[in-house]
Symmetry: C2
Subunit: 219 residues, 2 copies
């Protein structure tokens, strides 16, 4: 049984928390902090120390009683579990405002993901360049994905285009979709594509709720 | 006791689910579906019918046995609870790539939030226009917020600028911050500002985990 099979048992809730650990640990490394106790990490992250020990125990637990966690080691283990060092490749589909914000965003590079292609359907956008990438015609997407073994498609297309684009991508070897189209999509039957639907507006609405409540209470 | 005080009892978990109901109900209205049972809503949303009944009961419950929910009424109640119709106002601070993607994004308007001002520190950006808004000097932010009673600041600034900007905003009447700066910020002591930290990369990492695991298992 290899490592990854062991890791498969990690619950989705823990996986959802790992990126936060990843960010905090990166911050610690930047500040040359190489060792940290679960109590200190707990204070920084506002998670109970016992939750931290439980989370990190899920994948073997690297803490030592009275000694704490080796920050670099923990960081590299979490990176590995999250697939950060797996050399995943991506394309961005739809080079409108959100697409542009992502093309130039360091968040892919920081996570070891190589953005290999940009696609759009608009003749005015096709052919424009961003860094060393030129926007290609969306009709060439299938071939490009197959030729380059693309893992992840980032969808920054209008809602109305989501369904058709999903059908096209389903014919490639794409294994993951990061979906900003605001259409709630799910994996086509018989395929095995992980889909992460991003709804920025949901987080804005939760904030609105808090703000509106506060305003009303103060009136 | 007014309505809002009643609503205060709604748990954070429910509040986090309400925007999803909001989106689905809007979709139903668009498709002229005016009545829906918890069973149908359950199938569409992939939430158990009992969870739906429980969630919607939290704020009075508008379903009728064997008759279902009145979609428009439910939509308007959820809008109200979430503060969608409260005429909240916002500014966007930092007109880089992410800022630009948000300036032109209908997500504010859809939620009844009026974006009243754009701010940046870069002389090359100050003075540029987006629709009917002109980017202002960030030094004028405090006065602008006070004069216009701004409720929400959207931070699309670099991480390094987050702390100083938060200090400036804390001196205004801002009640909410939607934070894209990647710096994890929290409300300054003695202030009452709700902060919604957005970490897009976290959702990308959760996707990477799934994709990397799938790749490894198929090798």
């Amino acid at each position: 049984m290899n490592n990854k099979q062991n890791e498969k048992k990690i619950s989705n809730a823990v996986i959802r928390r790992l990126p936060r650990y990843f960010r905090y640990l990166r911050e610690l490394i930047r500040n040359d902090i190489m060792r940290i106790s679960s109590r200190e990490l707990s204070e920084k992250m506002n998670i109970t120390a016992s939750q931290i020990r439980q989370d990190l125990n899920c994948f073997g637990g690297f803490g030592q009683q009275g000694y704490g966690y080796n920050v670099k080691f923990l960081y590299s283990e979490i990176s590995h579990i999250l697939g950060v060092d797996n050399g995943l490749t991506a394309i961005i589909v739809g080079i409108g405002n959100v697409g542009k914000a992502l093309v130039n965003n360091p968040l892919f590079e920081k996570r070891g993901i190589k953005v290999m292609g940009l696609f759009d359907t608009d003749p005015n956008v096709i052919g424009t360049t961003f860094g060393d990438l030129t926007v290609m015609d969306a009709r060439d997407m299938t071939n490009f994905c197959m030729d380059n073994g693309i893992d992840i498609a980032v969808l920054t297309i209008p809602k109305a285009a989501a369904k058709d684009t999903l059908e096209v991508l389903a014919e490639t070897e794409i294994r993951g979709i990061w979906n900003f189209s605001n259409a709630e999509i799910s994996c086509p039957e018989g395929k095995n594509i992980k889909i992460e639907n991003v709804h920025l507006g949901d987080s804005l609405m939760a904030l609105c709720y808090e703000v509106a409540l506060e305003k009303e209470n103060n009136q």
